[in-house]
């Protein structure tokens, strides 16, 4: 977001990136939704695909690949990726837990849930566990105010949480150990 500046990660040391054939086909489907000459409009949906293909975050290499697919300048991708809060410019855990903390959730105990998760995972908000399994993030309103407190992980909303339910969720995730992406079907 504008007010919270996100720095673009440096290129050195990040793994190379290439879209899979299936992802490229999906990109082409998305680009076809916009009139000729307006393919830049497909930038946000294609960044989502790139992020899913790159273990949940956007490296400079991934963003450059997106620029190439759309035929636009690299900076046009960087400036957009750094604006939107769903794009991670740094690696995240296999499970990116995004807990809503905005007022309607706060009234129903979101702060306590965050404190509970911090203790349970032994990390602070914004950090990743040492095993790389969980990243904990406090986010702003996710549109689940009536089902609070809640957290989002990938495409899934986990609502009506209690400390017990959150613990069970964490255990289940540990056992499954499978990356969750926003683009999951």
């Amino acid at each position: 977001m504008g007010a919270t500046v996100k720095a673009v990660t440096v290129r050195e040391g990040t793994p190379p990136f290439a879209f899979s054939e299936a992802a490229l086909a999906e990109c082409r489907t998305i680009i076809a939704r916009y009139p000729e000459g307006k393919s830049k409009s497909a930038l946000l949906p294609i960044l989502h695909i790139a992020q899913s293909e790159n273990n949940g975050w956007l490296s400079v290499n991934a963003m450059d690949a997106v620029a190439q697919v759309l035929g636009i300048q690299h900076i046009e991708v960087y400036e957009v990726a750094s604006f939107y809060s769903m794009f991670n410019l740094h690696p995240v855990g296999t499970y990116h837990l995004e807990v809503c903390r905005t007022s309607p959730c706060m009234l129903r105990g979101a702060d306590d849930l965050i404190t509970h998760l911090e203790k349970r995972l032994n990390i602070h908000v914004g950090e990743t566990t040492k095993d790389g399994l969980f990243t904990l993030k406090a986010v702003e309103c996710l549109g689940a105010c009536g089902y609070a407190p809640m957290l989002q992980c990938g495409a899934k909303f986990h609502e009506h949480l209690t400390p017990e339910k959150a613990d069970a969720l964490i255990e289940q995730m540990r056992a499954e150990n499978k990356r969750q992406n926003y683009t999951d079907r």
Partner: protein, 451 residues
Amino acid sequence: MARKLLLEHIGKPGIRGLEGYRANGGYRSVEKALKTMTPEAVVDEVKKSGLRGRGGAGFPTGLKWSFLAKPPGVPRHLVCNADESEPGTFKDRYLMEFIPHLLVEGMITSSFALGANLSYIYIRGEYFYVARILEQAIAEAYAAGWLGKNILGSGYDLDLHVHIGAGAYICGEETALLESLEGKRGNPRIKPPFPAVKGLWDRPTVVNNVETLAAVVPIVNEGGEEYAKLGIGKSTGTKLISAGGHINKPGVYEIDLSLPAEEFLMSDEYCGGISGGRPLKAVVPGGSSVPIIPGELFLKTAKGEPRLMSYESLSDGGFASGSMLGSGGFYAYNDTACIVRSTWNHTRFYHHESCGQCSPCREGTGWMEKVLHRIEHGGGHMEDIDLLWDIQRKIEGNTICPLGDAAAWPVASAIRHFRDEFEFHVKYPTKVKDPNHFAKEPFRKEVKMYA
């Protein structure tokens, strides 16, 4: 039981698929409009209905549609604003998740009325799974001939696509949404020109909320005049209210706009009363951007009249003693809640979501957040309260888009109505160390004794 127009069929078997939706009278408005009406006649029905934008601004939809420029040879577009991100609001998600074809139908009928052949639904990124539901509904509609070329043999063509955002509250502002749809940062544009003249890719564009477009369906089916019989005065029809916070039955309710506020809050048909059986402290009736008002002012206006859940009644008394219907993101506070903490929380939200274009908003929201943080955590000074008042005054009206106003109003109203609570935080810093400080011992106004 009030009449339901949008939620009537929710929960019926198969309603989320095309067949079940058709079996319950779905897509009748498309048949009626394309086969028996001209686009102008559809616009007229919407004008007669008195329908007002359900996204928060409450601007008459028919009037907005009539502003659409129609230069020859230039394509026009309809864009649905499904970037629902106003804290407290989750009604559009409910509608799209449980009856997705209603929005698709509303999009087809409305696009026909506006002469748009290419329309988009811009949905917030966090609702990815809802976008999949909509994509499925759109694919079904294409397969059955409700979308595509020559719909129902009428010669009218329409392509409809879902466009996914990526987490930015500001993209709910219509010009920021259009920037985002063009693949750019969500920075609002300076108006004029309005989107009706220069919108998506500089072409004439109408941007409408999900609920607004869904309401076009019953309006076309039953006629604008029938729709206008519901509600009260200029608040016609029904409205979805998403209720949360300290109430017994959080959820999405469809209300007649003439419903008394007390009935909405207390009756078992709706919110079911305050959680814990505790006293009502305050209400935010229309999403976090609208002024917060004390419980007693929510139930009765300053004149002592019962408050109704209508645009006019909720704003009765202006900002001094009223609030706004906004997007219908309703949440209530009981006496265990801390207004200072909630205001700090709101301001943190606006600071996070400010796009950074205008200095009063970019700097002011962060400054207010800092000041509120120190008051809430027991490090504030008495002057800080006046400082906050001063900052919010300098943000309001001085920014390109209404986010600045939306950040200022909750702070102004909290100080206006709950100043003694701010003073309590300054006077007794040790009593507010615990984050849940009013949960154990609710705040009581100090009674001043004079000899």
